[in-house]
Amino acid sequence: MSDVSDPTETEAEAEAEVPAHTGSRATQVLGLAALAALALWVLYGLVWSPPDREMGDLVRLLYVHVPVAILFYAGAGLTTFASLMWLRRRSPGWDALAVAAAELGVVFGALTLLTGSIWGKPTWNTFWTWDARLTSTALLEVLLIGYLAVRRVDPSPSGGSTRASILGLLLFPNVIIVHFSVDWWRSLHQKATVTRLDPTIEGDMLVALMVGMAAGGLVFAWLLIHRFRVAWLEQQVERHDLDAAVAARRAEGQLSTNEPEAQPA
């Protein structure tokens, strides 16, 4: 995952220097795989798979909605895990992973709500219905947005990470309790007809769904690496700004210093 410049590399190595972007050999390979999977997914999802017996072509929305919903939960779960690891190890890599996973979670959560809503309109004739899944997702999306808000708002470099990691950890019980209680609540009002969201999927339809999951997973992984690197870079910028400020203070105090040249902001 890293392209640190290494003086023992041969001259033939085109990339002896670390590039000024977040790409790398790994992301190139991953990206190509993702594109291939996406192409397959479009083909299977929109062309090769048959319409559902009951839902008709609307089932094609599920090939987006289901993978995206799973990735939303994956993002939230990863945030929680990274928060736990940060609290135990205190290494900045875990912190960067937590914020990257959270942001991805918010994006895929928004997508889950969007596709669920679009699916709902022709099915139930309304863009929103207090269906258990949509309601839980909406609540969790707000929780994840709150997590990002706390990160943005804390001026101190490390304090924000502690607060956010507690918040990230709390996502775990929150997700479970919200899911369970909303599900139970809505089951009071909606009987079996609710799960129009889960038709019996088989054959080419199952393939479309699986390909969708694979494509979604690859895109998620690719994005996660890039976003992680962005978070890492943000930490570095902050560190350098901090070093520069300290150096300026020292220079004012006329103490000798070995700090490198301050980077232009």
Binding site: L87, L139, V142, L143, I145, G146, A149, V150, V153, D154, S158, G159, T162, R163, I166, L167, L169, L170, P173, N174, I177, V178, F180, S181, V182, W184, W185, L188
Partner: protein, 221 residues
Amino acid sequence: MWRDVALVAGRDLRIELRSRVATNQVAPFALLVLILFAFALDPDTGVLESATPGLYWIVVLFSGTLAVSRSGSVDEADGVRDALRLSGLAPAAVFLGKAAAVVAQLLVLELVLVGAVGVLYDAPLAGFPLMTATCLAATVAIAATGVLYSGLVAGLRVRDTLLPLLLLPVLAPVLIGATRAFEDAFGADGIRGWEWCGLVVLFAVVYVVAGCLAYGALLEG
């Protein structure tokens, strides 16, 4: 340890008794919102009466948010957080003490509000055991969660707007459960109120434990 809890709770309650924020600001706010609901929902068509459990718990949630926000802000005077950290009190004790103080304030408020909805909404108050149990469980849940999250946003400039954004979605299950329990208590059919009360109890336990574990890290940060 329990002496420390009582110490902290006593301190917070004494501050409240001196400043009277709960009685002079939070309670009138709560009653005002109850009255506004009546303006919004037309008392004559029975909508207000049937919506009473939900409206009641929404008001309690909002009031609880104010109460825990206040609980956090009394520690923001210079040096108080450091004093708490250096005092040798276990962070869990500080957490439990603050939560206990909030519980006490909220329970008094809820008593007043139950009376208010009985009068203003002509609510069919019944099922007092279930009501009481639910109030206790929900109050502990709100207080524990609130004190934890209040500690989480302590010191941030946008604390006052951020706290509701963080706290209210987390407390949604408490709202759902407490409302269902009240509906059952007031006589609605087909709702297993005691099971919903159980859910709220579970929530309260989870957050009391979570607060005891996490408050230390927040005091340090």
